[in-house]
């Protein structure tokens, strides 16, 4: 009897002890997804955009305040304002913004492209590598300008997303379909010919078209678009104005980019920059510069030479591989960033 009881007690105790000794929890991470996930969650995108636009609008406000205080002169504080911009702007966008501030000393606030905070389309990169590119179509600005296509780039993991470029979308242009943000779009390397044309080549060919006009063998591959038209018209205007002098313009693809994200149909959205240098050589004449460009020059007239550096950001929609469709120029921004002359 007692033996049995003892055995029962032992058994009970053993069971209790066994009950107490739970195994240590082990981490059981989910497997890495076969396809990279969108690099940013919706909240993160909002936060990034908010940060960027906050920095930009703060800089804009500071610049305008400084400009109005400087009474037409280029305020000294632009350097510090520019430094703040560097926190969230990079590449062409940073250069353009600073130039616009200078232009604003002559042309007023209208010289500054307003960057809306709201977004209507977010094109997310689905990647786990760097650099990462995020494209955003903004809401239409208050000034009834066209919406902008913003391109933000995170160069390294420890960098923030920087606004690399903005481009005014042309009227009547339709953005190519892209994957929803929760799926993400595959980033396309500059030399990746997944779409009809590799991003780098897109820029190169566009430069060739700008340079050679209709004579370019690539002319038919691009829709004309306002940018090319504008550049051509400007060049022709200079030529007429100068008379005996000479006007030369060179176009080169910008150093940054191009950045590209795949579209839903296998094409790509490519954003690049084009640098344009316009050199005017005067012969026995004086050129009076009337527009805001004078602000960049710091003078109204030149008698020998005038060199204008333009910076253009261009967005293309590249059709999928095998498609015969032309590359559509979605939008662009064309800003003189530096003027020298004498």
């Amino acid at each position: 009897m007692t033996r049995r009881a003892r055995a029962a007690a032992l058994l009970l105790g053993a069971l209790l002890l066994a009950g107490c000794g739970q195994p240590l929890p082990q981490p059981s991470p989910q497997a890495s997804p076969a396809d990279p996930l969108p690099a940013l969650g919706p909240d993160q995108v909002d936060r990034v955009l908010s940060d960027v636009t906050t920095v930009v609008s703060a800089a804009d406000a500071a610049a305008l305040a400084a400009i109005s205080a400087a009474d037409g002169e280029v305020p000294d504080s632009l350097d510090s304002i520019d430094a703040d911009l560097q926190n969230r702007l990079s590449g062409p966008a940073a250069a353009m913004r600073r130039a616009q501030y200078v232009l604003a000393t002559q042309g007023g606030a209208g010289a500054i492209t307003s960057i809306p905070a709201g977004s209507q389309t977010v094109i997310e990169p689905a990647t786990d590598a760097w650099p990462r590119v995020l494209m955003v179509v903004t809401d239409p600005p208050k000034d009834l300008q066209a919406p902008l296509l913003l391109t933000l780039v995170q160069t390294t993991p420890r960098d923030q997303y920087h606004l690399w470029s903005w481009a005014r979308l042309y009227g009547g242009v339709k953005m190519p379909p892209t994957a929803t943000p929760d799926v993400g779009s595959r980033p396309i390397a500059a030399d990746d010919a997944a779409a009809a044309v590799a991003p780098k080549d897109v820029l190169a060919r566009y430069v060739d078209v700008l340079t050679n006009g209709d004579g370019s063998k690539y002319a038919s591959q691009f829709t004309t678009g306002p940018l090319r038209t504008r550049i051509t018209q400007q060049r022709d205007a200079w030529k007429q104005a100068i008379g005996q002098g000479s006007v030369t313009e060179t176009y080169t693809a910008g150093d940054g980019g191009p950045w590209a994200l795949a579209t839903a149909d296998g094409g790509a959205i490519v954003v690049g920059s084009v640098s344009t240098v316009t050199t005017l050589t005067l012969v026995d004449s004086t050129l009076t510069i009337a527009d805001a460009t004078a602000a960049l020059l710091g003078a109204n007239t030149v008698s020998k030479e005038l060199t204008i550096h333009w910076l253009s950001t261009v967005a293309f929609s590249v059709p999928p591989a095998g498609s015969e469709k032309p590359i559509t120029v979605l939008g662009a921004e064309h800003v003189p960033v530096e003027v020298t002359g004498s």
Binding site: A5, C20, Q22, Q26, D43, D82, S90, A95
Partner: protein
């Protein structure tokens, strides 16, 4: 064994409850680790012990806790050294390894042209070169090589959530889809202590089984007990039958004795209007111990019984028979006294005194006798004690008997009937004071008591508590114990002889009515009683 079962059951239930209370596991699993300057949790660690986790990071100065995708966190750490939390080492310590954020992969270089040339050349210089090449990447955070090798993760776009604090930062995380890592850093330098606290859904797996098994065991034990009790009661009942036939008065006496000690009252009826007097006489009961006759003897030693017996026998005149053998020495004296008493009583019966003296002993006896119910008394000793003490009362009751037969009103139905029936027989006992009953009671303390006891017991079956109380009371009065010494079991043999007398037709009828076996085995049945008691000891 039954009590052992009960014990086991209670123990099991108790352990079960304890497992859910005292020994209940902590409802927090808290583990921590230290690292410098970064601590990174591997994917899956945050949610390994619960769906939510409370994170606390402590360091000197600024503390940052950042939550990001595992790949992002690893990439952020890059080639820097970090302490990686890989799991739990034990229930209070996190398992860690030290290594670069991305094994075998350095922090990604800024991609080629984008920012390679991008020395934060003051864009103010606005050289064409700047515009063309210039993407001055002003990183929000210093690169690891700067700032003494500790970068500040705060504010990075990589983080889904982040918390910064001074000296301490806390953060709570809810399980969500994906691979998540946590980065804790002390940008000012120094070690970071990371504590993860998971709420634990504390299960009490042993509560229910413990209660169920324990309850089952307990109930089994109880059942066993009950079985034992019933068995003993049966035997007791048998004994009762025998007794009833002899002395129907017992129940009454017992009842009166218990409540109001009215037993003395009962005798009064004999005298005539005894009831009132009886009550008044109650106190006498206690004084009974020293009945007129017994005083001397009682003082002498434990010889109380004999005295009593003697006194009882006296009235009956026959007692010598029964009482004779065991108490031979006393008999003469007793007889003498009894006769005297008898005469006194007859003369004095009208007065309450006579009865009171006689009855007093019985009263006390019944009390003892009741508890003595075989089944009720767990301890053999007590019971025996009762047995020994009882005889005197029974013996003294007899004289009263005849009068009793009528007042059954007090009795419960069953008993009453019995009593009345018995009464018929009883009268014999009384009328024939030869005292089949009386002697029996006296001589065979064991046997007699058993019947006497059983009767009361039967009457009170319903009242367990009472019985227990009584038992205790009994136990409390050691004074009554003196009776002990005198007659041990030696007298038991005597019991057997007496039963036969009791086994009249009426007794059989009663038994049949109660569904009990015939009287034949009386002796055999009486023995079981003792067996029971031995069993009781076993318990």
């Amino acid at each position: 064994m039954a009590s052992l079962l009960c014990l086991l059951g209670a123990a099991a239930a108790g352990l079960g409850v304890a497992s859910a209370t005292v020994w209940r596991a902590d409802d927090q699993l808290v583990a921590s680790a230290s690292g410098e300057p970064y601590i990174v949790t591997d994917p899956g660690v945050l949610g390994m012990a619960a769906d939510e986790v409370q994170v606390t990071a402590r360091a000197d100065g600024k503390v940052v806790i950042a939550l990001g995708r595992a790949d992002d966190v690893a990439a952020w750490v890059g080639s820097d050294t970090a302490t990686h939390v890989t799991g739990l080492r034990n229930r209070s310590t996190l398992a860690t390894t030290v290594g670069p954020g991305v094994p075998g992969r350095a922090t990604p270089e800024p991609s080629g042209s984008a920012s390679a040339s991008a020395a934060p050349s003051a864009s103010g210089s606005a050289a064409p070169s700047t515009s063309s090449s210039g993407s001055p990447t002003a990183s929000a955070s210093a690169s690891p090589s700067d700032a003494g090798g500790v970068a500040d993760p705060a504010g990075s776009d990589l983080w889904v959530q982040q918390v910064t604090g001074t000296d301490t930062a806390t953060f709570s995380w809810q399980r969500q889809d994906g691979r998540w890592s946590l980065l804790a850093a002390a940008p000012d330098g120094g070690p970071v202590r990371l504590t993860l606290s998971w709420p634990q859904a504390v299960t009490t797996p042993w509560l229910r089984p413990g209660l169920i098994v324990g309850g089952a065991l307990f109930v089994a034990g109880l059942a066993w007990w009950i079985v034992l009790l019933v068995r003993t009661r049966d035997t007791a009942a048998v004994a009762l039958v025998a007794r009833v036939t002899r002395r129907p008065e017992q129940p009454r006496a017992r009842r009166g004795g218990r409540h109001s000690q009215g037993i003395p009252v009962v005798p009064a009826p004999d005298a005539g209007d005894g009831a009132p007097t009886g009550r008044a006489a109650t106190p006498a009961r206690w004084s009974v111990a020293a009945p007129a006759e017994g005083v001397r003897a009682g003082e002498q030693a434990g010889s109380t019984q004999p005295r009593v017996v003697a006194s009882v026998a006296g009235p009956t005149t026959t007692p010598p028979r029964v009482a004779g053998p065991p108490q031979a020495p006393l008999t003469r004296r007793a007889l003498r006294e009894m006769r005297e008493r008898e005469e006194r009583e007859r003369a004095a019966q009208p007065d309450a005194t006579g009865p009171s003296a006689d009855q007093a002993p019985p009263v006390s006896a019944p009390e003892r006798g009741e508890p003595a119910a075989p089944g009720a008394v767990p301890v053999g000793q007590v019971r025996r004690r009762d047995l020994r003490t009882q005889p005197p009362p029974t013996a003294q009751d007899h004289p009263v008997m005849p009068a009793w037969s009528e007042p059954p009103t007090d009795m419960r139905l069953g008993r009453v009937v019995d009593a009345s029936r018995a009464g018929t027989t009883a009268p014999d006992g009384t009328t024939a004071p030869d005292g089949t009953t009386a002697p029996e009671g006296t001589t065979a303390p064991d046997g007699t008591t058993a019947p006497g006891d059983s009767a009361p017991e039967a009457a009170e079956r319903p009242g367990w508590g009472r019985r227990l109380l009584r038992r205790r009371r009994r136990g409390d009065r050691p004074e009554e114990a003196p009776a002990w010494a005198p007659e041990p079991e030696a007298e038991s043999p005597m019991v057997l002889p007496t039963p036969p007398e009791a086994s009249g037709p009426s007794a059989d009828a009663w038994r049949r009515a109660w569904g009990l076996p015939p009287v034949v085995d009386r002796g055999a049945e009486a023995e079981p009683e003792w067996d029971d008691s031995s069993e009781e000891e076993g318990r």
